[in-house]
């Protein structure tokens, strides 16, 4: 029976989480959504557009009532939740109804801050926060009312402009000396004030409201400042910021600071209760915009559905005022202090202003007013932490390349986010355009969600469509190979969605340019098919490179190497004698102790491979394959070494035997050192273990090749079992996220090492990866009938004959491999 999921909050975060869960696995939960307002899911960001009459109320509904019905969601509307019993796992609502839950998501959002002055409870004092508020404001404005907006921040100004445009007379009251004081400096704030005054707004800056005056009917009659000045107004709109709504969480005994405290996977202090959106607090930071809320809604859905996911980290955003005709952007750190300095350019002729903030030679903030064409360029510099040493200070303020925005878009990296609200990158949009042959902004929105929230990125999406459809030569850097324009993620998603089981089906389904692919995409597709459907996919041996096909490393002269397994670098007289006898019998020209602590026999002819392995009767070291444990380098360890703290050779053997032979996107090298002297040189391995007194330090993402990368400390554990589980989860994460042919360090770098570490340290994430790895491991063992690779191959007569037969027509005789 499906588990019961209750979501408290029918707002943007709650609805998005439910939508994500349905997309991941529609059958997993029986879902109940409890909401206080009498509307289905709507886009709160667009309230100001509605007030401006650019959109109508029905336009901002994101999920209509049919969506709830069609997806069998029980919507409890207009009936706020009033209590949570975390022990009995029951939610109670205002009407007295009870809802049992197995898992609970709190998406209770925030409440507007109401200034606690006398008169704040009068009838026409509102906060612009809901559809009801907006409808009331529209009505009042239409009568030409005199309205005070308290709060000269982003939302207050958007509301004020909306009200003026609807016919109201509006006074904006702000305690700070200039507008949008947290996002703008005084110069930009004053420029904004002048432009808004020209539109008919009146401003009272540096003013503190003392009380709101009422008449006999409980309606607003005026407003008094603490300096005695009085305003004649008949309505007050409070826009002073928000406070997380935590009443239910507090009453239920959850940890609450300013918001409901959550970890990076959205868990509250109760294992069965999650929280997302504006009601939460993560690492002392609150959420106030939609982008982090949506990111959290994705994470909570993934965690609940057992899908891999990245931990939450705060999102750097730009702030823009959604008022037609006024262009401003603010991002990052915009106050000067000891370390932060700024560069200013003011263009009095064109009424434009730029100020860039720099800390330790790195761009850290921007304020642009009037001309925002460079906003994205500076924002990218902030996100990438660009050094500005290469620019002359004033040159930084010049527009690059004559300000050709098409060129900017073309050179924009694929991973750059175009839709900040939904976290959709340029690459994702392009993939969707190509894969689904999209031609409109609306189509892109439907496929990727880009542009469907605040909508300010729609022009960029449109430009991207023009760029893509107008110029086919636009190259994707992430395409799998010249046979396709698609990137890895799009291909993997398509395989998953369509449940394709053969490479031919993938090539057909995605309109490959070549019927049979190339040596880049064929092994990759074979790998991804197996990774996604380990129990269903049939190995395609013709898609394998020579090494993996012949189970031997091809050498420059066309002969092969034979390298038996010596787990942990340990061997025995029996093994050594076998190797010696085989070397003698087949006149092996080169015997070498190789880097991976085992013995290699070089110069074996293809037709002799089966005979050599038959005589050796040893496990293969799989030196030829992209598999998990082809190399675990270890020192001798504490059983011998007087400095050793762990049995490194024994642990190496344990890891080797546990994860032997699982296909990976590239080779995976490991090292186990018995003590911090690190004789096994594990800090440049894909996965390294260093023994310390009482534990094991685990390292990930090291590399030693054309690029040398030092591994990063993942964690310290106490038992060998924990080493195995961490490595297993890391291995599966790598299997699922790498481009075929990419080593772990690349994937770790691309994902961000802190993200990988946070994910692997999370018990449920680790368990989910291990579960999938276990399925892959079992499928691999089935495929080889539980035998070592060469023992299985020696029983596979068909492949033995097909692969190792060499015909000699010099004397018209036929020599077979067996």
């Amino acid at each position: 029976m499906a588990e019961k999921l209750v979501v408290i909050g029918n707002g943007m975060a709650g609805v998005r989480a439910v939508d994500n869960i349905l997309r991941a696995n529609p059958d997993l939960f029986e879902i109940t959504v409890i909401g206080a307002e009498n509307y289905p899911g709507y886009n709160r960001i667009l309230l100001s557009e509605v007030l401006e009459k650019e959109m109508d109320w029905p336009d901002i509904i994101t999920n209509d009532y049919d969506w709830y019905t069609d997806n069998q969601i029980n919507l409890v509307n207009d009936d706020p939740a009033t209590g949570i019993d975390p022990v009995k796992q029951v939610v109670t609502t205002g009407s007295g109804a009870h809802f049992d839950y197995d898992k609970l998501i709190l998406a209770t959002g925030s409440m507007p801050f109401i200034l606690p002055v006398p008169g704040h409870d009068l009838k026409n004092v509102v906060a612009f926060r809901s559809i009801e508020d907006g409808k009331y404001m529209q009505q009042m404005a239409a009568t030409g009312a005199n309205i005070a907006v308290i709060g000269g921040g982003l939302l207050g100004l958007e509301a004020a402009v909306g009200l003026v445009d609807q016919g109201a007379t509006v006074s904006v009251i702000e305690l700070a000396p200039w507008l949008m004081a947290t996002q703008l400096d005084e110069t930009a704030g004053k420029m904004l004030q002048r432009d808004l005054e020209a539109r008919g707004l009146k401003f009272y800056l540096g003013k503190r409201t003392k009380s709101i005056l009422g008449d006999d009917n409980g309606q607003v009659a005026g407003l008094v400042f603490d300096d005695g000045q009085q305003l004649d107004v008949t309505m007050v709109v409070m826009s002073l910021g928000i406070r997380p709504e935590t009443t239910l969480a507090k009453a239920a005994g959850l940890n609450v600071a300013r918001g409901i405290t959550v970890d990076s996977f959205m868990r509250t202090s109760d294992d069965n209760i999650f929280a997302i959106g504006e009601c939460t607090e993560f690492e002392d930071q609150l959420v106030g915009t939609v982008a982090p809320s949506y990111a959290q809604a994705k994470i909570v859905a993934d965690v609940l559905c057992g899908e891999p996911t990245q931990p939450f980290s705060p999102v750097l955003e730009t702030i823009e005022l959604k008022v037609p005709g006024i262009d401003l952007i603010s991002a990052g750190q915009i106050k000067e202090d000891g370390d932060v300095r700024s560069i200013i350019a003011q263009d009095g002729v064109n009424h434009a202003y730029k100020r860039i903030f720099v800390k330790d030679g790195v761009v850290c903030g921007e304020i642009l007013y009037g001309d925002v064409s460079d906003g994205n360029r500076y924002f990218s510099m902030i996100k990438r932490q660009d050094e500005i040493a290469q620019y002359q200070a004033t040159g930084l303020l010049l527009t690059e390349g004559g300000g050709d925005s098409t060129e900017d878009l073309a050179s924009m990296p694929l991973d750059e986010i175009i839709c900040g609200c939904n976290g959709v990158s340029k690459g994702t949009i392009l993939d969707a355009i190509r894969e689904e042959q999209l031609t409109s902004v609306a189509g892109v929105g439907k496929a990727t969600r880009a542009g469907t929230s605040c909508g300010k990125c729609k022009p960029t999406i449109e430009a991207l469509l023009q760029l893509e459809l107008g110029d086919k030569a636009q190259a994707m850097t992430e395409t799998m190979c010249p046979c396709t324009d698609l990137g890895y993620d799009a291909i993997i998603t398509a395989i998953k969605t369509n449940h394709w089981l053969t490479s031919a089906a993938v090539r057909r389904g995605l309109n490959w340019r070549t019927e049979e692919g190339c040596d880049k995409c064929r092994p990759a597709l074979n790998y991804y098919l197996n990774m996604l459907f380990p129990t269903e996919h049939q190995e395609e041996i013709t898609a394998r490179w020579a090494n993996e096909r012949y189970l031997a490393n091809i050498q420059k002269d066309g002969t092969f190497s034979v390298i038996p397994r010596m787990a942990g670098g340990k061997t025995s007289p029996e093994q050594l004698i076998k190797i010696a006898k085989v070397a003698e019998k087949f006149h092996v020209p080169m015997i070498k102790v190789v880097n991976a602590q085992r013995i290699g026999l070089y110069g074996i002819r293809k037709a002799d491979l089966p005979k050599v392995w038959h005589d050796l009767d040893m496990d293969s070291g799989e030196a030829y394959e992209k598999t998990a444990t082809r190399e675990v380098k270890a020192c001798v360890g504490k059983n011998w070494c007087r400095f050793g703290t762990i049995d490194s050779a024994g642990l190496a053997e344990l890891i080797d035997r546990n994860y032997v032979g699982i296909d990976t996107p590239h080779k995976v090298k490991l090292g186990v050192a018995g003590c911090p002297r690190n004789c096994a040189e594990v800090l440049t391995k894909d996965f390294g273990v260093i023994g310390i007194e009482g534990g094991y330090q685990l390292y990930i993402g090291g590399n030693n090749g054309t690029q040398v990368v030092e591994a990063s400390l993942l964690t310290t554990v106490k038992t060998e079992d924990e080493v195995l589980t961490y490595f297993g989860a890391y291995l599966q994460w790598y299997r699922e996220h790498a481009h075929y042919g990419q080593r772990t360090f690349k994937v770790v770098q691309n994902t961000g090492v802190e993200n990988v570490i946070a994910m692997l340290k999370d018990d449920s994430q680790r368990d989910a990866y291990l579960e999938r790895l276990a399925i892959a491991k079992a499928a691999y063992q089935d495929y080889r009938h539980g035998l070592a690779p060469w023992q299985a191959r020696l029983q596979d007569e068909e492949n033995l004959k097909a692969l190792y037969t060499v015909v000699d027509i010099t004397g018209q005789t036929v020599k077979e491999g067996v």
Partner: protein
């Protein structure tokens, strides 16, 4: 003088994987693409002498296992970025009563 050399029964030749044939100083790689379509080319890649019989077959070309040169099965010429460079010899194939023969010097 050209002679007709027996290679193997068609049924015993692997599909879309190379079969290595030793023939003194002129080794060959045989590629069966279907029951009626078989190609024989020189086995020594013109680039660094890689054994083409161990390569990956795609369409009517083989990709050398050493450094990924693509060689046409139709005429033995290198393809793509190496087009125009020296290729490998090709040999006429004959299928008779389920047996494969190659015409060799």
């Amino acid at each position: 003088m050209t002679r007709k050399a027996y290679i193997a029964d068609m049924a015993d030749i692997p599909l879309k994987m190379g079969l290595e044939v030793q023939n003194g100083t002129q080794p060959m790689a045989i590629f069966k693409l279907s029951d009626t379509e078989v190609y024989a080319i020189g086995n020594i890649c013109p680039h660094r002498q890689g054994p083409l019989a161990a390569g990956m077959v795609t369409g009517k070309a083989v990709i050398c296992p050493l450094h990924s040169w693509q060689i046409s099965l139709l005429n033995g010429e290198p393809l793509l970025e190496n087009a125009g460079k020296a290729g490998v010899p090709t040999y006429e194939t004959v299928i008779e009563a389920g047996k494969l023969y190659v015409m060799v010097d």
